[in-house]
Symmetry: C2
Amino acid sequence: MTKHQNNKEQAILAAAKEEFLDKGYDGARTTSIACNAGVTHAMLHYYFKTKEQLFERIFHETMGMLVEGILEVFAKTEKPFKQRMAEALEIHFEVIKQNPRLPLFMIREVASRPERFAVIKNVISTFAGNLLATMQKDINQAASNDEISPIDATTLLLDMISLNVFPFVVKPVYEAATGLDLNADSAFWEQRKAENIELIMRRLTPTQDSSQFIVHSS
Amino acid sequence: MTKHQNNKEQAILAAAKEEFLDKGYDGARTTSIACNAGVTHAMLHYYFKTKEQLFERIFHETMGMLVEGILEVFAKTEKPFKQRMAEALEIHFEVIKQNPRLPLFMIREVASRPERFAVIKNVISTFAGNLLATMQKDINQAASNDEISPIDATTLLLDMISLNVFPFVVKPVYEAATGLDLNADSAFWEQRKAENIELIMRRLTPTQDSSQFIVHSS
DNA sequence: AAAAATATTAACAATTTTGTTAGAATTTTC
DNA sequence: GAAAATTCTAACAAAATTGTTAATATTTTT
């Protein structure tokens, strides 16, 4: 009757994504994936020869999503730099919020298998070079107008990513420490987003003596 | 001749720490640990009945170090709040820098095995309550003197930890993306530390209209 | 509807990984 | 230095996990 549409393959992919995101490559079990997908274990090997191949499929998809999401953030207009940055922060935060497990997934897999560097390198360096160069140009211009404090684009980007991503990465630990359930606490995330914007905006605002507080290490 | 000092047990512990920090519980192999420790595989099970027990030993030790390190940061004097905060940031950053793999280790293990929440909860909540309360009192006092902008202690703490910890957590990805070797790049870490202090100092500095830049989500 | 291609199953095989055991060697205690 | 406790070894066992295969069912093509 109904056309054959490989819905088992899709079910396996969906279950695999869950499993890999949750437990990482090493913790994931192909039997568990097959079971959650409602198919026999042999089917998994029929569609995806090995666990590694199945993982790679998920890894690429996931990386793609993350990078698309970040790209979207910086495809921006001609407003003042500070305002663009505030909007980028907000969009970036929301992208992460909608895919809160992706960052830890990526970090974990790259950390435990450096051979996956290559994928990351390709995906990111394709556009990161342009992005950073463009951003630095905008920064320099805004700084020369005294619109903002001068800053290195890479530095600013890492500020932004640290502030926006880390809370999601550390969420399980935070919940363990406080006993709170952050999924049910939308006020927490709204406050966090506002705080991150506040921090970066203050960072960019020109001051008379911008490095008065820097402490030099022994 | 020499007294018997369980140096095999120590060797196993050292190798286990390496293995677990590097690969996580799921990726670690007891055979590999025994091999790196230069002992037979059976010895591992002689001293530590199971992989789980060996892991727990390492996990506790590691958590202890991390918490001690952070405690040390806040056992501070009577200087102005901003200066104390700058010093705390610097010390905190250095503690992480000397144990750069601990944060990801903790995050990874708690994320993939929520039953380890209990350990974290005990260790942290023992002192975090006092810390936060004390900090909030200091903040309120400094704010009432117009020394700093008012801020929630929890928020400030998460700002600090995000900025200081995330660069170490994301290091492998950063290296994959840029092709740099950050271990050999002490200038990078000095700059990062300075940037984090700059950010927090600006966040604490009073302004006329401190929330002018907050963007509200749709 | 027959032939061809594809999807599915159940049972099995290979490997990896953790854990055990019985006994030998060594160290410590008395 | 003999007895007791302990450290250690080598071989083995059990379980889990990934991967295969041969036969069967279903779908698609002609």
